[in-house]
């Protein structure tokens, strides 16, 4: 390698990175998986879910937005950080209505997979059972707000990949939600079945219609291997 590199430590392991990389990107390349939900390949980092929280020289940072630095010491798989991650996943579960048993995304859902990976048997927080709706106005895709985790992956995909602005956030705090770029709902937008946005939804919130349960239980994305295994596989190569 003739370009400039920086070296840093993650959980005792030395990693080399390019100076413009984020901690997450560098770790991905080195086969060290840092759990995440809002971060997604090909999309600009967003830093909202906080699942990728790590400590950098003792200070908490989001690995998806924090750049690497020469000699930094990153803690990721410590008991303290893992507990925080579990708490955040628990928060997302109780904040919405996540009924895996009848969700088309089950088995391929990143929220669910993250809970599996972290060994969560049940959230420690009380369920909020919010009253939320569904936008099924569009012929080919739909939004189920019950399952939304506000990661902005649809918003970013629509803008950065699909070249549209079909979605955006409205409201604030606990009232924040994804809205469509039309007062008529999804059908009033230029969202289309060929968009990548639904495919990039980590949960079952933005979905293609008429496709569901296509893969049998046991063969789905996260049935056998934890989320992040693809990145950890690189370790051996």
């Amino acid at each position: 390698m003739n370009e400039k590199t920086v070296t840093f430590i993650v959980d005792g392991k030395e990693i080399k990175a390019r100076p413009e990389q984020t901690i997450m990107k560098a770790c991905d390349e080195a086969g060290v998986y840092i759990p995440r939900l809002c971060a997604f390949k090909d999309l600009s980092p967003f830093g909202s879910c906080r699942v990728c929280t790590v400590k950098v020289n003792g200070r908490p940072q989001a690995a998806c937005t924090q750049p690497v630095g020469e000699g930094i010491v990153v803690e990721s798989q410590t008991a303290e950080i893992q507990q925080i991650r579990r708490n955040i996943i628990d928060m997302l579960f109780v904040e919405g209505n996540h009924f895996c048993m009848f969700c088309e995304k089950s088995g391929n859902c990143e929220l669910q997979a993250m809970a599996y990976r972290l060994g969560i048997l049940a959230p420690k927080f009380p369920y909020m059972f919010p009253v939320r709706g569904v936008d099924a106005s569009h012929p080919d895709i739909f939004i189920d707000w019950n399952r939304c985790i506000l990661c902005a992956r649809c918003i970013r995909t629509s803008c950065e990949i699909d070249g549209k602005n079909a979605y955006g956030f409205i409201g604030r705090g606990p009232h924040k939600r994804v809205a469509t770029n039309s007062s008529a709902g999804l059908k009033g937008t230029d969202a289309d079945v060929s968009d990548k946005a639904p495919a990039n939804c980590p949960v079952g919130s933005l979905m293609y219609k008429r496709i569901g349960y296509a893969v049998p239980i046991g063969c789905r994305l996260y049935d056998k291997n934890p989320i992040g295994s693809d990145i950890e596989m690189k370790k051996t190569t």
Partner: protein, 603 residues
Amino acid sequence: MTAYNETIVKDICRRFGNERSRMMDVVKEVQTSFGHVPNEAMDAIARALSCPRVEVQSLVSFYAFLTERPKGNIIIRLCDDVIDRMQGFDRIADAFKEELGIGIGETTTDGKITLEATPCIGMCDQAPAALINDVIVTNLTKDAAREIVAGLREHGDPQRLVKRLGDGNNAHELVRAMVVNNVRRKGDVIFGEGKPSDGLKNALAMSPVEVIRAVKTSRLRGRGGAGFPTGIKWEFTRAAKDETRYVICNADEGEPGTFKDRVILTEKADLLFEGMTIAGYAIGAQAGILYLRAEYVYLRPYLEHALAERRKSGLLGNKILGHAGFNYDIRIQMGAGAYICGEETSLISSAEGFRGDPKTRPPFPAQKGYMGHPSAVNNVETLCCVTRILERGAGWYAQMGSNGTSGTKLLSVSGDCKIPGVYEIPFGITLKEFLAMAGAEDAAAVQVGGPSGQMVGPAEFNRIICYDDLATGGAIMVFGPQRDLLWVVSRFMEFFVEESCGYCTPCRVGNVLLRRKIEEVRAGKCDPAAIAYLEDLGQTVKIASRCGLGQTSANPVLTTLKNFRPLYTARMKENEAGMQMTFDISAAVRDAEIIAGRKSANF
């Protein structure tokens, strides 16, 4: 107020140059025209500003003072912070409700008056207070509430409710407010004597780098609460490669219990603008923005006037004080009711015409701030200190205060004290000494730094007010022995739930969960395991949240758990039977009992 008319919207957009970044101003003017921001207006604004419609809705739905639905021509916003509640909010609210025949959040049947509650409007020393459109009313009583409603029904003009004007510039013809300053103690810096423009003149006689060096020598640190060294911030901003730079003054004083910037803006506007100008010169900025919280809009005409006077005197504009090449002006950006905008990157988002979401750091504002350009964001008080430092010298300034913290600090004190108001004290005095000044010797607890700060008890009263010990952005809230501190905690958590921007999970969800658990503790429905639950949850919110709001929002819980733990344990009981005390079977079957017309046979 007029019916919707697209031409009006287009005109408003055109007046702001159809600039996407001025969407805050556009939307506010649209609301002024129609009383709300109608659906059709959002489409029209989006077209004129060439942006997606959802961005307009995103902004409107974010700010408490903007609305998508029609409200009354007159909006009464009762301040419902802890202090106002201690001083009789409930009584006043009842009087308004009775007189208007509506509840909070409702509009009278004739559509004329809306009644709302709003977090701290910066009048804790004259509580209970309210905002009626742009007009502030203070020291409310039940009788005053009745008179206000009668007056509004009769003439509909909130300004006519102001019968007696406050002191100082509160009585200025462009302010005409019943607000009083309550300046209790004047120090040498903010309320010290000085010659107008001397600071600026001295600065212009130096090179910008020398000005920054002077500020560094003075050891001035940011007065908003975080305490970052001002000189270093400026150095970073100046060093960032760009042609365009900005000075931003954070006058979004939203931390409940803080009202010292309000007094500065009222009495020392020129000191502030001079400081902003010096900052502009030091970092190489061409423009400054004063981001003023919506609650202080009553000061805007006066501040605009002060700016105009400075332009006339050659203190703003081209070739300031004849200094070739130093062209600099200041504009006022109004907020729209969002505590989060006091966070510097949220403030920048807001000033750029977006919802007030904090930005990802790095880059820091000093590298990429307003509109992507290097920006120095400073507190009102900080910039006033700058003027004095340049006027009287860094050495003079540095010798004031304590070892680690130079200078003076404005404290705004309210609650259970005899002499609420604003005090300019040197850093380094103990909290106890300060409480004696304010007539709060019998305080049982003091919230230092507002809800995001810490609650301390008498055991901590000997701690020193400075950045290295008891840091505060200026709020001191005093609670006497008669107060229920867990009630205070629950009110603070309510505040953070309402004011979280919702961007990140721990703050958006965690604060709701903290509030819920505190309510359960208060209701005596928890066993001692709730302590560990609160600590674990609070730590997650503190550690994992994305910005300063979330990182401090668990403090009411965490600091009272630390300093007032017996208050919690006293309300807890062991639960050996294993039945959840939070489960209320009679409440759970009540609906069914009514529907079935019989009582539960089981319970």
